[in-house]
């Protein structure tokens, strides 16, 4: 028997496969294609205090092995989420990770307070890395003090596991992981999308109404794996890795690089039935390599041989 359980701070997940925020709606949309209780967790769409309309279409554009999105965090706001979505998620025994976004520090704190009192929230993921909104969000995520401030402030008001989500649009992502750890985060998740753009050369206009958007999908995977590897060296808290995961091999690559759990976003658009394939693939791999616990894979990248090679050159 293979054991897929992993530990994210105080939170134990049945398996390391989590639905990534903004790529799985509020979870309930997918209830009839996947049994939500079989997932390690469900990170719901980024929530603000209030409802938001988001950006006008076009909101996505396909790119080589990837996609850009500028949804603009359309959402129903935290109150309607708690009233209308959380009960069903609870009934379906989903491990709910709420992804929260603020334009101010107080907004993050307020959201954390409200959600700490709501029944059925397993953890808070702090979205300080969304490239698609002009104010707030990424402005915290791109400054070390901003990251420190948000995480510490939220830490003070909640007992829920706090997971700041880091942006890859920085020079040294590991320093942000360190800042998060110092300010009391239980884990960090990365990567959010890469700020990017696409132009329609016939009209000479941006392909997205928001001009710029976030790049996700297999295209970014090699950069994301490197960043997870760097963060693994930098901090002791668990790292939740994501960026282009579509196959069991991809998920294993992140775990071997140092991820305790992984999130899957864009791949769910391409194949909403990917979840069981990922879980079966993990089990097969563990059996094939007779490894008892998936947790034993975390950060086991063997760089010795290669470093030798390097030196011998």
């Amino acid at each position: 028997m293979t054991d897929l359980a992993v530990q994210i701070g105080p939170l134990k997940l049945a398996n390391p496969i989590i639905a990534a925020s903004g790529c799985f709606g509020y979870g309930v949309e997918y209830a009839d294609v996947v049994d939500l209780s079989t997932l390690g967790g469900v990170a719901v769409k980024g929530l603000f205090l209030e409802a938001r309309e988001g950006h006008p279409p076009p909101r996505i554009v396909e790119t080589p092995s990837g996609m850009l999105n500028a949804i603009g965090l359309q959402g129903i706001g935290v109150h309607r989420f708690i009233r209308e979505k959380l009960p069903e998620l609870r009934d379906r025994r989903a491990v709910v990770i709420v992804n929260i976004c603020g334009t101010t520090l107080d907004e993050y704190v307020e959201l954390a307070r409200i959600l700490s009192d709501a029944e059925g929230v397993a953890a808070l993921e702090l979205n300080i890395s969304c490239p698609n909104i002009k104010e707030g969000g990424i402005t915290f995520g791109c400054s070390l003090t901003g990251t420190l401030d948000v995480v510490s402030a939220v830490r003070k008001v909640t007992r829920l596991p706090v997971i700041p989500k880091l942006t890859p649009n920085v020079t040294d992502v590991a320093s942000f992981a360190r800042a998060a750890e110092e300010s009391g985060a239980d884990a960090v998740s990365l990567v959010n999308t890469f700020l990017a753009m696409a132009i329609d050369v016939e009209t000479r206009r941006p392909k997205l109404s928001n001009i710029v958007g976030g790049l996700s999908g297999p295209a970014i995977r090699p950069i994301a794996v490197r960043m997870v590897y760097e963060c693994r060296q930098a901090v002791k808290i668990p790292v939740i890795g994501m960026g282009g995961i579509a196959t069991p091999t991809d998920a294993l690559e992140f775990m071997i690089a140092g991820a305790t759990a992984v999130q899957v976003g864009t791949a769910n658009f391409v194949d909403p039935f990917v979840w069981s394939k990922l879980l079966d693939g993990l089990r097969d791999y563990l059996t094939r390599h007779n490894i008892g616990r998936v947790a034993d894979l975390i950060g086991t990248l063997d760089t010795r041989a290669r470093e030798q090679a390097w030196i011998s050159s």
Partner: protein
């Protein structure tokens, strides 16, 4: 409940240098499909192109005994993915997710169904016409294309007893001009006591024009919108359209709350993709 099948390409029938019909082996999807629903198809293995493409279910394929064996799509070559489907080889497999979306509600014989199609917008009407025929509901198809070579399956609709009104922009077949012209004359001529429902699918400007005709002549119109779709299941929020809900306009996901909408609820001036 949608399912995903690796559907074998049964046939690829070229209709013109732009249009073709791809027949897919997908009994389970064919069994559940309703008029106006769509499927999400992956154009090729690998990650370029990455996303699936949405296609209306054009025909329900059946065996001799009438049992559903698969679905076909009416494909128009406009870009990378539709080009790959234009060149689809029989025997190749196409991941096919469906059936998806809110279907048309075919009116019963107490009313009349007028289908208004522009170009590839014909796609959802083959199955709707069948549904109207089984209900013995009087049906008319107003069908406009650029040129004669862009008009397909006319006999198919006639065989079902559908009255067909054709227009082409170059006058090479049917009436010269836009489909909205004969449609407006018919609306003007129709007695007020006739209960007519318009079903509309085509380019956005054409659908907007028909919507305003419907408003002017006080007829109900349902439209099938075509937004860029990332997932087809409500996960990505890419496919939103501005819809009047409780007084104000809100962005609504056309993949799960549509693609079929009551045209009077759409905020046409804000609609684009």
């Amino acid at each position: 409940m949608p399912i995903d099948v690796d559907a074998a390409v049964i046939a690829n029938t070229r209709l013109s240098d732009e249009y073709n019909v791809v027949a897919l082996d997908a009994p389970a999807i064919a069994r559940d499909a309703l008029p106006g629903q769509f499927v999400m198809l992956k154009a090729s293995p690998g990650t370029d192109p990455l996303l699936r493409r949405p296609f209306s279910i054009f025909e329900i394929l059946r065996d001799a005994a009438g049992r559903p064996t698969g679905v076909s799509i009416l494909n128009k070559r406009v870009g990378v993915g539709t080009r790959l489907f234009f060149d689809a080889v029989p025997g190749a497999t196409v991941p096919c997710l469906g059936p998806l979306g809110r279907p048309f509600e075919p009116v019963d014989r107490s009313g009349e169904g007028w289908m208004v199609a522009g170009g590839v917008g014909l796609a959802p009407f083959a199955t709707l016409a069948e549904a109207l025929a089984t209900r013995r509901t009087p049906a008319t198809l107003f069908y406009g294309g650029r040129r004669s070579a862009d008009l397909f399956y006319v006999e198919f609709f006639e065989r079902l007893g559908v009255g067909v009104v054709l227009t082409t922009e170059d006058g090479s077949r049917g009436e010269h001009g836009r489909v909205t012209a004969p449609l407006e004359r018919a609306l003007k001529a129709a007695a007020a006591d006739r209960s007519i429902t318009l079903y509309v699918c085509g380019p956005t400007p054409m659908m907007a024009a028909v919507a305003s005709l419907a408003r002017r002549y006080d007829r109900r119109a349902v439209v099938s919108l075509e937004q860029v779709m990332g997932c087809g299941l409500g996960g990505c929020y890419s496919c939103v359209v501005p819809v009047q809900t409780d007084g104000s306009a809100h962005f609504v996901r056309s993949c799960i709350d549509g693609p079929v909408f009551d045209s009077s609820l759409i905020v046409w001036e804000d609609l684009r993709h």
